[in-house]
Point group: C2
């Protein structure tokens, strides 16, 4: 049984490319609101679960011990574009724990945003680990290690107290076993565990509501949601989907992209969690599918719907700025 | 009936992403050597047919009138990375026809190669149409227009003599109707016509052998193949698949990438033409599928096979240079 087409790419009057995948929307009791495709096949959530990976930073008390600000909290669960404000905020987090960029184990990456990368090159600068799209999460990991009175060195390894805490949170929140047979290494060197989309959707339904969480975890989730809603630039960057979506809809929405076509999110007022993956790993299709699910379930005023419309269909322009096609949702 | 998986992406022991598509290998009489998936559905070949689009440049006499060199001929059928040598060669072609970069209608593009783009930014330079990956083809179009004693202005439009000649060559070589209902606008603003993969494979079997061509067309195809084999850097760029493949195998091979997961090629000594498309438009999968077909059909010595092996499996490394997964062929 093959997964259905979630999004298609047109050129002229012809469909040029097709993206298959699976998607599920659950309520916080695990009730299925919507489901297409095989939502039980294990997928690597990659960066889409950063908000869940960030819970121990709060539950351990480290976030308060180091007085992390709201923009820093948003950055701790981000896949940022490596713009100057992102890199500076990462460094500020590390300094609060008495550390610096030398502690980061995510590797050096030119800013994900091409314009930011070229601006950096133009200024004669070279990137550091602070520009890595995961540097905020890693700065949070360093804070967590210090908060646990653990040596941060090796915090990316599966056996380190930081990754043990992160894995524990993921297992408890999603209800899925995170097994070493289903472990891969992520782009930033930490473990990623393949789990079903259904478990990810349940995890985000809980994350969005606190339903089924103890009081500390519920409070931690609420702080993260509030911080990201207030500072959506920090969770992604200029022109990025998550930033644009939450700039418009604020705390009514939580969305987070992951590499290889994964998207997770929550619609807190409805109690819904969302998880999807495009089989082929295409981010362009995952975004459009996520937008379609948001538009389908989240009540919007006419003005809100109009403002949100550009996120639902990606108009493709060529090098002369001429519209040549679109990425549009299918199967929704 | 869904297309099979042509390539899959692993992370750890798990398949993370899957790329479906169709592929066909034909001989120059149209005999089917190999076929998977739906090879009759129309697909936009995009830049994969630049070598066929380049035939009128020779058949018109323009290439000789302006004394185009072998590197310039290779660039005329390229999707280059916008490296300095590519941009300079485009300009040299235009100057031979008494024109300059102001004639190019492909639009401005930062070099496709990220390192080349950053080097340009670092030098305080801004890109021009010469850096557009299609500038060589467009310089060829300007030469063709001048050779036909036509005003180059508007040479990207379907009604211009240049595009009429190009469409005529495409129809004759592939044997497929190129209809305006199946027309889209390409990234560089010229028309692209969706045709079946089977027609593209037939076209490249003919292109690789001259079989079924008149003497002028056969000579033009041979000149293009020879030029690209001698200057594979010109047809793509540093580290690119087409450049690496033809650096290794020279005139035994002709391959050309197209946007949205298309690949076309020829194995002249066998008389085979190849065409494939990944449904989702993924270039990473199209390359691996192309490499698998080459390895399956082209006889190689042990040393050749060993040198070609890195093109058959793409090892994915993270920001710390650690291997995290692979892109590998399936269905071959």
């Amino acid at each position: 049984m093959e997964n259905p087409v979630l999004a298609e790419v047109t050129r002229g009057n012809t469909v040029e490319s097709r993206h298959r995948g699976a998607a599920i929307v659950l309520d916080a009791d695990g009730g299925v609101v919507f489901s297409v495709g095989d939502v039980e096949r294990p997928v690597f959530p990659r960066s889409a679960v950063k908000a869940i990976q960030g819970l121990p930073l709060f539950e351990s008390g480290a976030a308060d011990r180091y007085g992390l600000s709201e923009p820093e909290i948003a950055l701790a669960v981000s896949s940022h574009s490596g713009e100057p404000e992102h890199a500076e905020t990462s460094l500020a987090m590390l300094r609060k724990a008495g550390r610096d960029a030398g502690c980061l184990e995510c590797g050096t990456q030119w800013p994900m945003g091409e314009a930011a990368a070229r601006a950096m090159a133009k200024a004669g600068q070279e990137p550091s680990a602070l520009n890595n799209n995961c540097s905020g999460k890693h700065a949070g990991f360093v804070c967590l290690a210090c908060g646990l009175d653990e040596d941060p060195a090796g915090y990316v390894k599966a056996g380190h107290a930081v990754q043990q805490a992160v894995r524990g949170a993921l297992e408890e929140v999603t209800g899925a076993a995170h097994s070493s047979e289903r472990m891969g290494i992520d782009g930033c060197s930490i473990p990623s565990y393949a789990v079903p989309l259904s478990a990810l959707a349940l995890g985000f339904a809980r994350f969005g509501t606190g339903h089924g969480f103890g009081p500390e975890r519920a409070k931690a989730a609420a702080r993260i949601r509030k911080a990201v809603a207030a500072h959506p630039f920090m969770v992604a960057g200029t022109g990025r989907f998550d930033t644009r979506a939450m700039e418009q809809l604020g705390a009514r929405l939580f969305t987070k992209t992951g590499a290889e076509g994964v998207y997770c999110g929550a619609l807190p007022e409805l109690g819904y969690g969302i998880a999807l993956k495009c089989d082929d790993g295409a981010g362009r299709a995952a975004e459009i599918a996520m937008a379609a699910l948001i538009a389908r379930f989240l009540p919007m005023s006419e003005a809100e719907a109009q403002a949100f419309a550009p996120l639902r269909e990606n108009i493709l322009k060529n090098w002369n700025g001429v519209e040549v096609g679109r990425v549009r949702a299918a199967a929704f």
